[in-house]
Amino acid sequence: MALSRSGSNLLKPISPFFSCAPSILSRSISSSNDSITVETSIPFTAHNCEPPSRSVTTSAAELRSFFRDMALMRRMEIAADSLYKAKLIRGFCHLYDGQEAVAVGMEAAITRKDCIITAYRDHCTFLSRGGNLVEVFAELMGRRAGMSNGKGGSMHFYRKEGGFYGGHGIVGAQVPLGCGLAFAQKYSKDENVTFAMYGDGAANQGQLFEALNIAALWDLPAILVCENNHYGMGTAEWRAAKSPAYYKRGDYVPGLKVDGMDAFAVKQACKFAKEHALKNGPIILEMDTYRYHGHSMSDPGSTYRTRDEISGVRQERDPIERIRKLLLSHEISTETELKDIEKEVRKEVDNAISKAKESEMPDPSELFTNVYVKGFGVEAYGADRKELRATLP
């Protein structure tokens, strides 16, 4: 897909936090495959490379799918919030609402053969990689119908056939894993890339720089994506990082700073990064994004930031609102249509929850399955399996 279009006839100077200006190229609707050119909210800032163009080609169908997907993700996270408060979800639950544009934009730029690996804020990324809602809710509630059979929980969502490698609880540990995925891709020469995602808190982990060094040395197709929501749990980025320009932290590795609340900027950046990584090795993307919820359900989210800040971002930069305005201004959908989609999505989520609630808890014998491959379990056998079988505690 061509990266740059005749951007000169797209107007309006862009000020940050302003949603995309309507284009004079807007036509009256229906043909959903007509390409529309959209400008990202702000230009990309680059480090050690040439930034891609601000003009992104899209289509009405894509705009609609972005809206629906993000609305679904938003609803899913809100529903998870209420389930947690109803004590149906226990333990840790990290919600992604506000950051949906990153998941949706990234997915639009890549294929299912490319790998994504992320940390514990993984519900929406799992969904975008082909997961379904019933699996999500069942896993969150610890039921057998979950994608990890109820044994993983909120922080351990995986989908092998979708190229989604999780779902990791320890901050930063997924980045070396991600570089390993990129290594395997290079080893099998299959022209795919890996997106290893982490947050601004994890950006200070040593293993990240170790992995980046190895990835740059061996020319691995690894793309490190920093989802900078400006708070590492309760610590603001300026209190945790001497240099909060995460896209520059790679030094010799090129970097790009992207407005993570704009799905098209994300899509453009990921496309650019994929091409770059396949030719030149690793690149860092910093997605400037924001989470409305606290770090997790046990964090109110308001002790280290003001409610005004949260509602301010929600008003000016909300990713779903941006798409809604685009849809309306390009006259692709009407207000009522969009409201209908939201209602439909809500219903879908509610149905999924009730279906997930019907699934039963895992059987006690499942405690020992999948510890080892081949059903080895935790029992020790001797060479002659017909003889005494002693069980270890």
Binding site: Y158, Y187, A390
Partner: protein, 403 residues
């Protein structure tokens, strides 16, 4: 003659302490007893006579199994070829890399340098830089990278230059390597092999003499094996690479230059099986890795004193081969565990608990466990000798146990 002891990595700092050779039958020895070979700690293989005169003054702390005993367990066919333990590891590794293109090795100095203990020597020129990878000194991340690569289907072998360095990668080994198969509901397999030399060497200092089997043993989802002879080193290496589970293969710094005869034909050993080194009647001695040789030396003394110990090299540290161990306990009713791990929370401690729980009715006496002292390994030679279990202590323990 000198060629028998070739292959010592002379250019590394560790090499000076690795002179631990077991002389086969050269004609250069002026005097040779029928099946007994004595190896001395300094490995100067001047005739056996000298060692006999030195014996009362100096404890021989680094004995090696007699040829007769090792051949019982190690080879079945007389024709075969002789090699050193690190060469056996290399042979196993090379065969597996030829057989399966998904096998790759990553570690510090494994490629162009040939491996700090020469286990991977020549493999980089043979298989290329993408299959034998030199990593920077970043254990945490390259272990993580190996695990990530394994999630997609590659079979990396991650080498820690010294097992102690893998402590830096403990998070990756515990959380990702051990747990991913479980937390993903079986979606991902992690067929990695993590290997490296550990154990108390020759005055290497506290940080380079660590026994990590005690730290790794509680990680669910991994298997641990310890090799002790060239025969089982090659067999276990091949089995570990073929296994779908993550396997940690513990080698010992002082055993790399052990020489023995192994079969020419291909063989793979079972990862969960223990090895019967010497069948006996009076007491079961359970051991692994280098302590096997201390036990075998003590066994000679014990036999002379009229005892008949049964020596089992447990090989599989996680899970224990309770079948073989159980059969032995039922026969002898007395157990002595000799290990190089620390006393607190070591393999011996877990083994004691496992045997007591499962075979308590068959025991005539409490289990005795001889382990290393709970101290950082000192540098001074004499102190270092006393950190680990010596054959004399084993003899005393058996005598007390059998009263």
């Amino acid at each position: 003659m000198a060629t028998l002891f070739q292959g010592l990595p002379s250019s590394t700092a560790f090499s000076s302490s690795n002179k631990f050779n077991h002389a086969p039958a050269p004609t250069s020895f002026s005097e040779r007893k029928s099946s007994i070979v004595t190896v001395r700690s300094d490995a100067r293989w001047s005739p056996v006579l000298n060692s006999a005169t030195h014996k009362p003054q100096r404890l021989i702390t680094n004995a090696v199994a007699t040829k007769a005993d090792s051949s019982l367990a190690s080879t079945s066919s007389k024709p075969g070829h002789e090699l050193l333990l690190f060469e056996a590891l290399r042979e196993g590794l090379e065969e597996e890399m030829e057989r399966d293109p998904c096998v790759c090795v990553m570690g510090e100095d494994v490629g162009h340098y040939g491996g700090s203990y020469k286990v991977t020597k020549g493999l980089a020129t043979k298989f290329g830089d993408l299959r034998v990878l030199d990593t920077p000194i970043a254990e945490n991340s390259f272990t993580g990278m190996g695990i990530g690569a394994a999630m997609t289907g590659l079979r990396p072998i991650i080498e820690g230059m010294n097992m102690g360095f893998l402590l830096l990668a403990f998070n990756q080994i515990s959380n990702n390597c051990g747990m991913l198969h479980y937390t993903s509901g079986g979606q991902f397999k992690i067929p990695v092999v993590i290997r490296g030399p550990g154990g108390v060497g020759r005055q290497l200092g506290a940080e380079h003499s660590q026994r990590l089997e005690s730290y790794f043993q509680s990680i669910p989802g991994i298997q641990m094996v310890a090799c002790s002879t060239p025969y089982n080193a090659k067999g276990l290496m091949k089995a570990a690479i073929r296994s779908e589970n993550p396997v940690i293969l513990f080698e010992h710094v002082l055993l790399y230059n052990l020489k023995d005869r192994i079969p020419d034909e291909e063989y793979v050993l079972s990862l969960e099986e223990a090895e019967m080194v010497r069948p006996g009647e009076h007491v079961t001695i359970l051991t692994y890795s280098r302590m096997r040789y201390h036990v075998m030396q003590a066994a000679k003394t014990l036999v002379n004193k009229g005892y008949d110990p049964e020596v089992i090299d447990i090989r599989s540290l996680k899970p224990f081969d309770l079948h073989t161990i159980g059969k032995s306990v039922k026969k002898t009713h007395r157990v002595l565990i000799v290990e190089e791990c620390m006393r607190t929370g070591g393999i011996g401690a877990s083994l004691t608990a496992a045997i007591t729980e499962n075979f308590n009715d068959d025991l005539d006496a409490p289990i005795v466990c001889l382990s290393s002292q709970d101290v950082p390994t000192p540098y001074a030679g004499t102190l270092e000798e006393w950190t680990v279990v010596q054959p004399a202590q084993i003899v005393t323990a058996v005598e007390q146990l059998c009263q």
